[in-house]
Amino acid sequence: MSETVKLVIDGKPCTCEKGDYLLEVAQRNGIRIPRMCYHEGLSGLGACRVCIVEVVEAGRSRVVTSCIYPVLSEIEVFTQNEKIKELRGMVLTLLARLAPNAEGVAKMAAKTGIELPRLAVKEGGDTCILCGRCVSACEALGSGAIAKVNRGVTKEIATPYGEPSSECIGCGSCAFVCPTDSIASERTEESFTIWGREFEMQRCSVCGMPFTTQAAFAFLQAAQAEWEPGAEQQPPLCEECGKKAVARQIANAGKYL
């Protein structure tokens, strides 16, 4: 049995289960804490520090990173008081310095009412804030083609040795989750190019629309074969046709009730 914990977020009384992450608890209670590296489908990274909040516990106050802060006891939380606004402004300023061309940072600053110092935006300048969301997505999907490489000022997101990775399946999840759209990819009718590799597209077996790469589809089929050994392999279906197929199955199942 899990324990229930009471907490107050921005004056609103809430409850959660012991160990739930603060950012998610706030979200469930209608309070959206600004964030950049956190993604609903992945575990908290605590990398961007945009989601910092003030936590007061038994009269003692401290600033925590809400996406990786488990609520363990009764606390009072402030997600946008003056102190937090100032600190979050500092965090966003540093992120903007790191990646002056990252639109995501500018948008986040505008959304949270923070004025960024004017920075010289250079053509082709950096857009990556090194949050690692892409790496996390790649690992979560079971590929792991990219990683955070080097450290300090030379840190970057790259494939091993900067070479096209044999583990990459061209699913494009890294580019999809990137909060600053900093991963370059190119998609045509026939191919998808990312991390220095070109992938052939897989067409839907019903409508013929290219919907993923052949490598990503083969990867999914192999994963399915592992989860359900002996199960019938699904034909390649795009999202739309896949939904229709499921709907038809459900409709047919109804007939026999």
Binding site: V135, C138, E139, S143, G144, A145, I146, A147, K148, V149, N150, R151, T159, P160, Y161, S165, E167
Partner: protein
């Protein structure tokens, strides 16, 4: 070499948490992490480990190197105390004597030079560590004699 890397990997159970230990052993054996090593280590450690993760580890830790290193690794401390005691002169002297800068390796593969931060022996500054031997209070006059012992045929060149 591949056989040797496999042997090193197999000293450890096939679990992700042994990634760093295997990399350290490979580093010790070859003085660097050869490009062939990562796929072989991954193969042994199992599906939880990705090549990207191993590459991230190998580039994160200073103790691991992706570039080949010399037979003898000279580490000169450039921490505050050593710096005050003239470590920069020492670095220049080694550069002049061997023709290599920090992070480089001599063409014959005999020496590589690295700068390190404080090694905790400030009273003995300036410190120069060659392989596992600490040379303390190194002077410009004493340096050539120390280096000679590590040259081919020298008493420490084993």
């Amino acid at each position: 070499m591949e056989e040797r890397i496999r042997e090193i990997a197999q000293r450890y159970p096939a679990e992700k948490r042994f990634s760093l230990a295997v990399l350290q052993d490979v580093q010790r054996e070859f003085n660097y992490i050869p490009p062939e090593a990562l796929p072989l280590i991954k193969e042994h450690l199992g599906p939880d480990v990705r090549e990207g993760q191993l590459y991230a580890l190998a580039t994160f830790y200073k103790a691991l190197s992706l570039k080949p290193k010399g037979k003898h690794i000279i580490k000169i401390c450039d921490g505050t105390a050593c710096h005050m005691q003239g470590s920069t002169r020492l670095i220049t002297a080694v550069q002049l004597a061997l023709g290599i800068g920090p992070g480089e390796c001599t063409p014959d593969g005999q020496f590589s030079l690295e700068l390190v931060n404080c090694v905790g022996s400030c009273a003995l500054a300036p410190i120069m560590i060659v392989d596992e031997t600490y040379h303390s209070k190194v002077t410009m006059e004493g340096l050539p004699a120390i280096l000679d012992t590590y040259r081919p045929g020298g008493e420490r060149d084993v």
